[in-house]
Symmetry: C2
Subunit: 227 residues, 2 copies
Amino acid sequence: MTDTTNLVSIVKKFTSKIMSKKIPETTIIRLSVYYRALRQMSEQGVESTSSERLAEVVGYTAAQIRKDLAYFGQFGVPGRGYYVADLKLNISRILGINREWEVVLIGAGRLGEALIAYKGFERQHFRIVGVFDNNPDKFGKVRAGLTIRDIEELPKVVAEQKVEIGILTVPADQAQLVVNRMAEAGLKAILSFVPAPLEVPEGVILRRVDLAMELEALSYYLTLKTR
Amino acid sequence: MTDTTNLVSIVKKFTSKIMSKKIPETTIIRLSVYYRALRQMSEQGVESTSSERLAEVVGYTAAQIRKDLAYFGQFGVPGRGYYVADLKLNISRILGINREWEVVLIGAGRLGEALIAYKGFERQHFRIVGVFDNNPDKFGKVRAGLTIRDIEELPKVVAEQKVEIGILTVPADQAQLVVNRMAEAGLKAILSFVPAPLEVPEGVILRRVDLAMELEALSYYLTLKTR
DNA sequence: TATTGTGAAGGAATTCACAGCC
DNA sequence: GGCTGTGAATTCCTTCACAATA
């Protein structure tokens, strides 16, 4: 389905699509969902599918799926649907997970340690290559094969290993300071588990996972029902 | 600012507002953010603020903030702004966090244990009152003051303690089964950390926190920049 | 025939801008 | 004078519906 005889024009088309239109963030999240569903199909030996069938699995509408994909190109065959392997590969390219990403983790507290040990780290697209803390008592300790190091060494490791992504699991009161250091060290993207708003310099991407906010949303909907 | 001399009409207005309009989910998430900012202001001794100043702190527009609040009532004073304590209280009522919620956690693996120990559990609005697993080797072990119990006991605990919220941290392959048991046990809301799509029966709310998806979003934006 | 890809329509959320109130 | 609350305008996102096509 991917016409390898004319790769240049496809890449051009692909790139220009991405460049021109503005793509909703929700589309990116859904692509992750499609990717998982496709991987599962692939493992079950399913070779092809349709937007309709995929929609059943993931819980969005078929039109939504086709629209999401249309932002990036044409990956299906009218009248036939999509080849699972092909679409999966294309989505992995769009998401940039057709490679391995090295990741550092800053903050070797409980949550940090849990994440280090968390094998479900999505099948090796992301690999933790360094763990840092500012507590000297922890330096040298080993967790899941990784030695906890002084955060002073962060810039060196980031530069040497060309790391771009950092996971932040420090206490809220130190978080902004650490974010600044992460940015200075050259990290380009931060996934924060800190329950506080943080500012990042231009050019650095920040995403937050906030437990409390998620629970509060549940609390809201539960309260709403009984109001 | 809350006119306690005429509480009934205020409550009526409040309720009817919520009932009539459809409120964006993003508004609820932002309310959580406002709440944190207001709590911080409150701790710093700030007594009043404006949508403009709040906007600077949280990173949304002032109009957005006013619109979000308008879904639920009138909490400010034209020309003066908002009283911090008052607005904070109102938002906590909207979110349903002007009380304590008992929570159970199912899946005493690494992530589960990290969450149990996670003190940042947002200042006691949510308290874990039970930990469950299906591995007999773990039964009776104590984590952060909580004894790990047989998941068979879940219905009993949920009923006795009137628990409505459950946190799910089991492996993906068992997750759907466990979700079903949670729903049967009477839980009304589930916060899942499982990296897989899950189905819940009517009337049960499910929210997902998916590490891999968050990292994939970062990967996408990083890839985009260099494409 | 079956299903994609996509303009056009419809619906939601955000931003604007200002009347009204403190 | 300053700031809220809110209709109107705008922008963004989703769904519809169908021409194009393997």
